[in-house]
Symmetry: C2
């Protein structure tokens, strides 16, 4: 009962979708490959065909998140922008809106932030997550550096401090929202939070 290439690609997607659900429900280490297979309507054999092990399923899931605003930010980094802080503000608010409406991305985000166990000697999977976070931070830092060179950074702030503070807020926002079972309006809180922090970072007009 061999399937055509499209069929195979389909089962691969179904496995990933099932993995997202099961990981989300039981945590990564609480999810056996058998559970995922059953949810996907296949056997473990199928999973082992498409992926090396559970870690590879996780990284495959992770590589599925590609927020559209990343291109926006990349473009600004390449071509420059006359108001980088406003760009950060707008892009971040956009991300909040997107995440608030995309259940699949919420699940993946929850798995990454809350469901992946911390290790001091990180597994390659955990390492990838840390790396992705670091890349995000670098972009943030470069944009704020642009703002600084344009004289728009408020006194007292350094580029690094500002970038870290903003990153903490955003990750904290999503983590708390997902951890609490979406018990508060992310969009409201997120918009106010973003504007507050950006407002503090931005040098006030004299």
């Amino acid at each position: 009962m061999r399937r055509t290439k499209e069929d195979a690609a389909k089962t691969r997607e179904e496995v990933l979708a099932a993995a997202a659900e099961v990981f989300f429900e039981n945590g990564v280490s609480g999810s056996s490959l058998d559970k995922i297979a059953r949810r996907a309507g296949v056997t473990r054999g199928a999973i082992y065909w498409h992926f090396k092990d559970k870690a590879e399923v996780l990284t495959a899931l992770h590589s599925e998140i590609r927020l559209p605003q990343e291109e926006l930010v990349d473009h600004a980094l390449e071509h420059g922008h006359d108001d980088p802080l406003s760009l950060i503000e707008q892009a971040s608010i956009e991300v909040v809106h997107i995440l608030a409406n995309d259940e699949q991305q919420q699940r993946i985000f929850a798995i990454m932030i809350l469901g992946c166990e911390f290790t001091e000697d990180p597994s390659e999977t955990a390492q990838r997550i840390i790396t992705a976070n670091a890349e995000m931070y670098e972009k943030l830092q470069k944009l704020i550096d642009m703002a600084d060179r344009q004289g728009n950074l408020a006194p007292g702030w350094t580029v690094d401090t500002a970038a870290r503070a903003f990153q903490c807020c955003m990750n904290g926002l999503f983590a708390e929202w997902l951890r609490s079972g979406k018990s508060f309006p992310v969009i409201d809180v997120g918009e106010r939070l973003v504007r507050s922090v950006i407002g503090s970072i931005r040098r006030k007009a004299a």
Copy 2:
């Protein structure tokens, strides 16, 4: 080789200390009771004598964190305070300083925030963490409510939105710091962040 009561209490503490280390290094579900026992210099028998199972070790660890400023906040809640927002600001900055210098509490915090797997149908352990977080939120909310009734809440903010925003920032700060391997100065970032958000929440003097 029965020990005296003091000896027994000592091994209990040693088991907890070892558990904090092992959990921190390998994650909760990646830590077998045997590993913890070896680290503590005992056998699993000793652990099973003092605790029912791994979950009970975790909750025992969790109950070890009692930040001193909780009493400060409780006192303010009971007796009122003429400037609750300043109280939040000071207490939070104090917490940052304490956490920055207490490795044991850092480990426990890391385990709770990063190392405890998320479950939609939460285990009792996870539930305790969520509950503790909710209690913290309630106190925050009551303090901000006090500020609101004193006319000190900036327009645009609601009590809930402000409390959530602040909570997200603080948890995000610690989570990012620990996840990143303490790669940035928490105290600097934390102080600026706290002052920024509280500054945004507080109504400006006319």
